[in-house]
Symmetry: D2
Subunit: 333 residues, 4 copies
């Protein structure tokens, strides 16, 4: 059974159905009625006027967001273990035309105001040094930890004080909100986030993420950058439809809750083996190679994260019943 | 009725079905069995070993192709009316890191060896001038003309003689092959084409184009560029499935033939109004504003191409019966 | 005798002396007293507050100027024969990260409002097309013609009306001002120019051009771009000294007048052979290959510009006496 | 007295004289006889065929070198304290079009094979990770330490084994060779270095560094990149003349020996205060703010490097007599 990555999960039936529902003649690119409705629908969700653009991947969303916040000669503070630093083959550098990621430290891939100031206060304010222009945080983090609204707000306040933009990589934003049980606004614009990569693909969509601009002035130029990057798909209505289906009836939140619940089940079974608290849908636990082999022999598929450490990721489609065997197997180790 | 663009057509049922057919758990990115089969399937189609990468848009395919053929300090010869020059918001410049498109002339957006040498022979061979590194042609062209194998071969021979790469923008490659009734190899690698953007989205697919490397050595670096551009979708199997469905039973060719047939019907009706011979699925015809208004009043939707000139595009899903009313209306003008 | 290019002329004695005069210990980069005085000295010259940066080449000045005026996804309107289009190996594309030069036409490499609107009015205002962000004109032009203040002002008014920045490539700005006998402000900021590449190297300096920002807000970011491009030389005082020496006592204008006077002498001798009116220090004249060979046989060095056309360039160091033999030889053809 | 930076030193009389010696009419750019002689002169110096290009700054030399060794989607391993990482405002990222600097550790800003493999072995070989393409080391390092031939050779062997290019930032290469008392070939190409930024500006030149390609195949493309960056100065003969003057009679080595000797004098006085062994012309020593103030009060100018640590740099023009007072003052602290 797959616990390798939520990327590998199937697409949610409601999303498949919504795509079939727009399989008709309509205007190309983002001129169709569904694409045009995204601003309104996401503004409603976030209770403030936003600009919402579909993009076909989370890497594209992140890179476009950073390009909107940071000039080529600037820097973006992020965590050493951030996806933008390690897993996007330099997409931020490509889209920003060479901006530099400035590495900060923090437990569980979480940044703190102190960790950020450690980095930026060490940068002399002269033209020889790349100057910071933005901060990027991931919620939930790469280790499945969740920033609470006040934690984001503290970083948001620092960003404003220093004149930096704030981006949130929300590849698992839904899982974070599900864990926090807060309004999505509380952990984004109300806490100072300027741009959000709102992930849907890991959570039931097929090929559509939402790039949300709370600083709406940044959206217009991004339309050009999206086109220029080959990301403005001509049949954009199929992407819009995915997002609308995920918003409909709170599907995005329900799916995330399901994935989180599965992770919680495993976490309880893992107990002291846990490397990080489990707050979203990722579980990092200590396991010897022998133990890992044992789990694999029982049909569970997952990632060897580090020596003596494995990563399990649950998905929207895995019920408690489906997960129980893994939980039991982990408990029995 | 829509004659605005083949981009606006619906997705072909076989493609929708194929996507549903891969809606299961599988490896992410391009590690799934369908993505992995593309090299073999396209090699079979082209009767030579090729590397075939899915990409979500034609603009992305073109830009990645040019980046593989031309360094940042180089130039790409293309027609003044080429899509890469006019309709991609600078994607070639973005992906190549600033290479220059070198504008050549030719009737019906078609390049000729003479038109190309006019451009490149005027470039002094010194470091002050950007040097040409590649040629890009579009088949069928932006005006619906089709390069025959010997026309491509003449350009291919020139390219080889001058040490230039040859890219074919095949957004409507299927329509070209349908018109030529030749083997797809005849008008590509056998004629000297190094890289082909093989379009499927205008022809019945949803969000997958194929980037075909006949010069297979260029493919490996492109894998990095594709990822770095945010184009390596995590659920790549849904893109692979689209391409496989389009290849299955020659659907790509059948669809293109249908679209071409519709265009031929209108072309016959248009007679002397035609601005260009109709070879693929685009019809450019002379029409006064009043005539255009008349057609629109009868429910036909299309593009005003230039003063006194309109563009009609037929699609895979339009039967002869569906098109007859437009043909009649055009004849009656 | 050299009439090949003013680039090949020696450095003016006053400039050599000024460089010797700063050959002492001082702060590095642009922190020295001479570099720091540039803003004030050029503000005085232009009778308005400007920011003035030394850069080591005209290509660098132009490219930095365009990068300040145009985003990566934008376009710059320039003449088909502009230096930035033909002779800088893509420096504008490199510094702007891929902006596009949009080619306009005009006699003698001179743009007009009509020639510019022909280009920009043809660009649909959508994300598929690169949008114009700036205009670049060269004064004196690549063919030695000079824009008068009202000609620049007409373009400046157009630029403002369309929200475009206006750059002047002034590689031979001094020659233009000498010809116009106007205040340098009249043909720059008073006529709507935002950024000027003020050339000194062709006019007696060694390795220092001035990049003048009339729109001073653009200067700060350019400081970072200059450093990032490796153009912030550590011993910058030797560049500042060159510029200060050229300003001292109006040397820049005196040198340009000398060069222009030489050109006028040849122009009078050339009479009906002239391809363009001679207004600055370049002479383009019709000459058969035999005539060209004859001139060369008499020791005159110059450039074959086009079939049946040669280019002669006079320099600051060539006195009327030195030039007379060439004038006589031309007259005798 | 200045111990702030060798950048602030005057230009060597022989260099000034050489520049005056080429103040005559000659071909522009790098077509003059002096520029053309550089390949031969540096090939002689290094006892192997090299390509030698003048560039006006060390930052430009480094960035061009890295662009020759690393594609936009690649990475360059360098030390956390490398000049390319901290002091060039992102020039490597600009010239490489967004390659990533991969930070390695090592005492005194010195890399070791182990420090490098720690970095590159942690990078999974897939398209999600930026892959290393080059290593860049600085000799003498940013802390004044010198890599001996065998130390470079160990890194060179690693580079070859892993298919990586090897760049040496030799801003103070002369000081390194002076310390090692070895042949310049021993610590460069014989040890596996592909490209060397050979610094002259800190050592008596004005505005010319040499970019040396031991892998001569890389030089041709760099000619285009140099032009494209605005670095191909039109009066290039004044740069060539500087380099030739520095080579003449081993001036480069004599100057470096003088600077090193001064540093050694201070090092002996500093004794246990030294933070790093003094091998070239930089001295890092522990000093309280009061002690630093005391030195400054006596007229010595220098850089506060870190809390409780100051940096003193000696230059080619400072004789033992000139330095003695500082040495005495340090000893008396």
């Amino acid at each position: 059974m797959r616990f390798f990555s939520d990327n590998a999960a199937p697409v949610c039936p409601q999303v498949m159905q919504a795509m079939a529902g727009v399989n008709q003649i309509d205007t190309a690119y983002d001129g169709d009625r569904w694409s045009k409705s995204l601003d309104a629908r996401f503004s409603e969700l976030f209770e403030c006027p936003v600009r919402a653009l579909w993009v076909p991947s989370g890497t594209a969303a992140n890179a476009l967001a950073l390009a909107a916040l940071c000039p080529p000669h600037g820097g973006v503070v992020c965590h050493r273990d951030a996806h933008i630093q390690n897993d996007e083959c330099g997409a931020p550098e490509f889209y920003t035309h060479g901006a530099k990621l400035m590495i900060a430290e923090g437990n569980g891939a979480k940044l703190t105001p102190d960790g950020i100031t450690d980095v930026i206060d060490a940068i002399a304010n002269d033209v020889h040094r790349i100057q910071p222009h933005a901060i990027s945080i991931t919620n939930a983090t790469e280790y499945g930890l969740v920033y609470a609204p006040d934690e984001v707000a503290a970083i948001g306040a620092l960003a404003r004080a220093r004149g930096l933009g704030l981006h949130m990589d929300g590849a698992r934003f839904a899982n974070a909100v599900a864990h926090l049980d807060c309004h999505p606004a509380d952990v984004t614009w109300r806490a100072g986030v300027d741009v959000l990569s709102f992930g849907f693909v890991k959570n039931g969509a097929m090929s559509a993420e939402a790039l949300i601009f709370f600083d709406t002035a940044l959206a217009d130029l991004t339309l050009y950058r999206r086109k220029r990057a080959g990301l403005l798909l001509s049949k954009g209505r199929y992407l819009a439809a995915q997002l609308l289906a995920m918003l409909e009836g709170g599907l995005w939140l329900a799916n995330a809750r399901a994935a989180n619940a599965g992770a919680a089940l495993i976490a309880r079974a893992a107990g002291a083996r846990l490397v990080h608290p489990v707050q979203a849908n990722e579980i990092f636990l200590r396991a010897t190679p022998e133990e890992a082999a044992l789990l694999r022999a029982r049909g569970f598929d997952f990632y060897d994260w580090a020596p003596g450490e494995i990563r399990l990721v649950t998905s929207w489609d895995q019920s408690a019943e489906a997960i129980r065997p893994l939980a039991d197997a982990v408990a029995a180790l």
